[in-house]
């Protein structure tokens, strides 16, 4: 009798597991690994308590320099979903894709749903400069409307991964989108207090192109979109001349790495430092959320360029 009961319980248990597997039901929270701090914040806002977000690349790590360590590979392979910025921001991502496909990890790259813009070309106007256009700017989150598109992308991915959470994901995404709509208007109302002639951003590297194109700024970067090469002396000379000619009001540093020549440019032009911007993702303190990071950056820019 006892043996029969155990056998029946086993059958019942196997049946329940079978039903869960065949229906694609998520057992426990959706495990998300993230290579991008903005994507992680979006996932936390949309996923709420139904997700567990592990930041492989977290605030304070320079994503341009990061390469996944063996331990990171393990953590990524055991996740349900991997979040990335895309558009080449994680050059190692393409190498990862076949492995992730085998492991059944769903890859969500924010850059897939935004309209990309081309990164600025560092060497324009220099002798012997050869064009290498076509490099897309991967810093899409500096446009709030791009982030709103990514919110919907993450919502859809989570609904596909965890159909039982549909209602929760839809409600969370709608609430977050409403906050981002208000943020978008806040940014416009801040920027309108800046004379158009003052809307020139001298930054460490070319990361604010989306902000520039959306709100009428011009970016004069010291380095290109990838920070992969040091600026040439010709480029620095031209930049110094342009800063002086255009009477640029401030030069902005970045929260992570800054090229050494930034100090030289500030010294030679006599232009003051406008403060620190978060270009490659979220930071700490008031910039530890997407909304906080955008408010910090826009507030710093507007205050310095007035």
């Amino acid at each position: 009798m006892k043996g029969k009961c155990v056998a029946m319980l086993r059958l019942l248990l196997m049946g329940v597991i079978g039903v869960f597997l065949s229906a694609g039901v998520q057992a426990g929270p959706v495990r998300i690994a993230s290579l991008n701090t903005v994507m992680a914040d979006v996932a936390r806002n949309v996923g709420g308590e139904r997700v567990e977000v592990e930041e492989i690349v977290h605030a304070g790590v320079d994503p341009h320099l990061y390469e996944p360590a063996p331990g990171d590979w393990k953590r990524i392979e055991t996740a349900d979903v991997l979040l990335a910025g895309g558009l080449g921001f994680e050059p190692y991502l393409e190498r990862m894709r076949p492995v992730l496909a085998n492991a059944g990890v769903r890859v969500v790259a924010g850059g897939d749903v935004v309209t990309p813009i081309e990164g600025a070309c560092e060497g324009h106007g220099e002798e012997g400069h050869h064009h290498h256009h076509g490099e897309m700017d991967p810093h899409w989150w500096h446009s709030v409307s791009n982030t709103r598109a990514v919110v919907m992308q993450v919502r859809d991915a989570l609904m596909a991964q965890d159909p039982d959470g549909r209602e929760s994901y839809e409600a969370n995404a709608a609430a977050f989108d409403q906050r981002l709509e208000a943020l978008e208007k806040w940014v416009r109302l801040q920027v309108v207090s800046l004379p158009k002639a003052n809307r020139v951003l001298v930054t460490s590297h070319d990361a604010l192109g989306y902000l520039a194109s959306e709100y009428g700024f011009e970016v004069l970067p010291v380095q290109g979109v990838t920070k992969s090469s040091q600026p040439s002396s010709q480029h620095v000379t031209r930049l110094i001349r342009e800063i002086k000619e255009r009477r640029v009001k401030a030069i902005f540093a970045e929260s992570l790495e800054n090229p050494k020549v930034l100090g030289q440019i500030t010294a030679e032009t006599g232009v003051r430092s406008g403060g620190v911007l978060y270009a490659d993702g979220l930071g700490k303190g008031d910039a530890s959320t997407y909304e906080g990071m955008m408010k910090h950056n826009v507030g710093t820019i507007v205050e310095a360029l007035k």
């Binding site: 208007k185 416009r188 109302l189 920027v191 309108v192 207090s193 800046l194 004379p195 158009k196 002639a197 009428g216």
Partner: protein, 141 residues
């Protein structure tokens, strides 16, 4: 009332008309009514006058401002308010517009028309409840 379908149609049509007229008045293309501007482009300085006409569906306190310029504000609740700004012709500044509606309930609309030398530069309509605070982007005419 129940037995007269024609009467019901008339009542519904009347109600729709009453609701629709203010919106139509606000959003229609205004062919007449705007007098030829008395302003002239000041070529020597590169400055030009820009006239801003704000029209709201219901009375509201209206204001508009451009960077480095004073806020122009209506006296209390009005449905139409006009202001003038002198701005660089090649790169006019964007405008921050604000409307605080006297009627608190229901959606309201605010139309903003910007003209320079008689030419319509911007024509935008904003929708909101209670108040509207937004930005009108002004490109060179």
């Amino acid at each position: 009332m129940r037995g007269f379908p024609l009467l019901r149609i008339l009542v519904v049509a009347g109600a729709l008309l009453m609701l629709g007229v203010p919106v139509w008045m606000l959003t229609r293309d205004r062919v007449e009514g705007i007098a030829a501007p008395v302003v002239e482009e000041r070529e020597a300085t590169g400055m030009a006058d820009f006239s801003v006409v704000m029209t709201s569906t219901t009375p509201a306190r209206l204001s508009v401002t451009a960077v480095n310029d004073a806020v122009r504000e209506s006296d209390g609740g009005v449905r139409r308010f006009e202001a003038r700004f002198e701005m660089p012709l090649a790169q006019p500044e964007d405008l921050a517009v604000f409307a605080a509606f006297e009627a608190e309930a229901g959606p309201q609309a605010l139309r903003v028309e910007v003209r320079s030398a008689g030419r319509l530069v911007v024509d935008r309509t904003f929708w909101g409840e209670g108040e509207i605070h937004d930005v009108v982007e002004v490109a060179a005419p």
